[in-house]
């Protein structure tokens, strides 16, 4: 309502000015400019109020959809590493029951430790994304890449170091087949899976276990390809 009054005053001052004399601008210039400034200020305030209400309404309308989408993505992201952690844990218990002091038991333990670290790195990346301020539109794809979801063709699934956060481990790749080798932290999931497979082979464990690990690997590859295509 303030704006309407303001505009009315403005129009009235115009009408008055046109009706009275020719050198209106000298007499009323300051007044008109002041009215016009006030009008502009009031309209900007209206726009700002609308913007603020719009932001809240837009957020409310989209939060659940965003949550659902993120939930599914997070669940898919953790599937392979979670399954490998469960596998390595079962193998660790099995090895300890068979022969607690064996080199195989030590190797399985260090594999499990690396898998746990791998999982922690993914979780940490997700937490970082949550704590970071909302990026502008152009930064969104970069954000996804930091989560290890985005893959560029050079870093993509054609190679063994499947996800971006794991690129620091490619140098340790050649040592994967060595059962007793103590692996440094930072292997890719692909490397950890192969390490686990080599342990299964060297311990002469049932063939089905290899299929189980290959299944995890296959699903993980499919996820990598799919997320890459999305971006």
């Amino acid at each position: 309502m303030v704006a309407i009054e303001c505009l009315c005053v403005l129009i009235m001052s115009w009408v008055k000015a046109l009706g009275s004399s020719e050198d209106v601008f000298d007499e009323n210039a300051d007044d008109i400019s002041l009215q016009s400034k006030e009008w502009k200020y009031n309209m900007e305030k209206r726009a700002k109020d609308g913007f603020r209400d719009g932001i809240n309404a837009g957020k409310e309308a989209s939060l659940q959809a965003g949550f659902n989408q993120g939930y599914r993505a997070g669940a898919l992201r953790m599937k392979a590493v979670g399954q490998l952690k469960g596998t390595a844990s079962a193998l660790q218990i099995w090895c300890q029951l068979q022969d607690p002091g064996s080199p195989a038991a030590a190797s399985v333990s260090s594999l499990l430790q690396c898998v746990v670290q791998h999982e922690e790195r993914i979780e940490a990346a997700m937490k970082r994304a949550q704590e970071r301020p909302i990026p502008s539109v152009g930064d969104v794809s970069e954000d996804l890449a930091n989560l290890g979801v985005g893959l560029t063709p050079e870093q993509g699934c054609g190679r063994t170091d499947c996800c971006k956060e794991d690129t620091d481990c490619s140098s340790s790749h050649s040592s994967c087949s060595t059962l007793l080798h103590s692996h440094p932290a930072g292997q890719s999931l692909e490397e950890l899976l192969r390490w686990c497979m080599s342990i299964v082979v060297e311990l002469g464990l049932p063939e089905g276990l290899l299929h189980h690990l290959q299944q995890i690997r296959k699903e993980f590859f499919r996820l990598c390809v799919r997320t890459f295509m999305k971006i």
Binding site: I55, A61, I93, W94
Partner: protein, 140 residues
Amino acid sequence: MSMTDENDDLFDSVLMADDRFRIEGYREGFEEGTRRGMIEGHNHGMIHGAKLSSEVSFYYGFAMTWKYLLQKNTHGKARKRLKAVEVLGDLIQKFPHEPQHENLQEDVERIRAKFRQVCSLLNVPMNFCDYVHGSGSQDF
């Protein structure tokens, strides 16, 4: 156009200006809010989905591995263990990773209970179960 119509139009535009600026602001704000809500919701949902999936996937890998390790043995006790890990595996395969799944809480509790049963059948030390539960479980 008559003088009265012109005056009406002018009067309307004065009245409408107030709303027009507000509506334009609202529209822009809604767009920005939608984008922010999607990102915030996504980041938040991702952590929840990841947490639960990490726990449930762990159980699945654990169950499948024991399934293959136990398949060699066919005596009574091993068969009972095998049955339990197979049931656990089936429960997890049927579990949908949907945030708005109706029986989410019940299904997760059923899976956790089955896992604890598997651990006890396999004589897995309790501190192992604690470690798993402490690191993987979550409140809803």
